[in-house]
Symmetry: C2
Subunit: 207 residues, 2 copies
DNA sequence: ATGAAAAGCGAGCGAATGCTCACATTATAT
DNA sequence: ATATAATGTGAGCATTCGCTCGCTTTTCAT
């Protein structure tokens, strides 16, 4: 049978061993990012830490960017899972209850892996493949907008797009800054206070 | 006279020619950042674009980081100039008038050089020397807090630090996202709407 | 058992980068 | 005019990095 030269399978993992390799590579990338920062994350080092050869690395990831993108994606999926769940859970609640929940969730989501979150926010240049973070932002925007639309009667008259933009930006920034500045030693009391205040900010604005 | 070996003056510019060299280097760095992004900004290229030799570059800047830091600093000083002026101008105004002015100024400040702003925000890893951006944030925080303190009677009872953090984070994020998403083609009408809404958000929160 | 596909290996290439250093030119003071 | 300091030059060193390729080992269907 005339086969195409099997020199370049490139990419997909089918056997279990290779899936483990891929996992090890992504995990190693994340660990290096957290421990040593973006600059120290060379492909050679990632392969070494993963206990894998560089050659194997390039069987599954076409570039260093792809590796970092995989880490970002994994982290964003974790966050989005929580956010999607919260938004579903909140769909039938009145605005004040809903906003409180969403604010809390936003802060919690940013606290999942604060060190990684910090590195991703501060050290990763959003270039080439890495620019797709915006997609997640757009999804959140859409979901929140849909919720607000369903609760329009509780709100004053506002342009929904503008209101969504304002609310999401504000909540996101406060959650983000809270985690970045406070590092990990955030008293639960402080978190509660910030959640209360942010809720007040947003709810007061919407109606 | 026994002098210290004049082999390593390093750094300070005293004659006019050298000050021009320093300027050219910073300007070239900024231009490369805007035109080609952070990755393409090598010291050799910066020197070339500045019409200066690499050697001269290293007489005034100990590293590539220092060069980028200088660009960031110049840009931040521009912004801080505007913000400081606005805060002074606003010191005797009531909260609603003051907030409106500050929100407008925040957006305008981010629009000074949107392309550079975007590169600095998206592509520059905040590492080593570059971490000092936080200092500007702290100054703004302090100035705003002082204003709010002087206007405490117009406000509800709040922890001033918390309120400052919330307001600054929100305003900054909205201004930032506005400029980043809308690029440069932002209708004046849209800007005004966003300023109005943000003002409402913040003023409603404070009292 | 066997052969082919899948997975893994790692020395090392070519390119780029940050930076140095031995030297040349210009400015300043006497 | 001359000496000294200030400023400027650029070829090239040392290093690192992303990545390739010829090869070996493992897995699996038959």
């Amino acid at each position: 049978m005339a086969r195409q030269p099997p020199t370049k399978p490139r990419k997909n993992a089918s056997q279990e061993r290779s899936r483990a390799t891929v996992d090890a590579l992504v995990e190693a990338t994340a660990r290096i990012l957290v421990r040593d920062g973006f600059e120290k994350a060379s492909t050679n080092r990632i392969a070494e830490v993963a206990g894998v050869s560089v050659g194997s690395l390039y069987q599954y990831f076409p570039s260093k960017e792809a590796l970092v993108a995989a880490v970002i994606d994994r982290h964003n999926e974790e966050i989005m899972g929580i956010v999607r769940a919260a938004l579903a859970e909140v769909a039938d609640l009145p605005i004040d209850k809903a906003v409180r929940k969403l604010v809390t969730v936003a802060i919690d989501a940013h606290r999942i892996n604060p060190k990684l979150h910090r590195v991703l926010a501060e050290q990763i240049p959003r270039t080439g493949q890495l620019r797709d973070v915006e997609a997640y932002n757009r999804e959140i925007q859409t979901l929140v907008r849909a919720y607000l639309e369903s609760r329009r009667k509780e709100m004053r008259k506002v342009d929904l797009d503008v209101a969504t933009f304002i609310c999401v930006s504000a909540i996101e920034a406060i959650a983000h800054n809270t985690v970045l500045h406070g590092a990990e030693m955030l008293s639960e009391k402080m978190v509660r206070t910030l959640a209360d205040e942010t809720t007040r900010l947003v709810v007061g604005y919407l109606r």
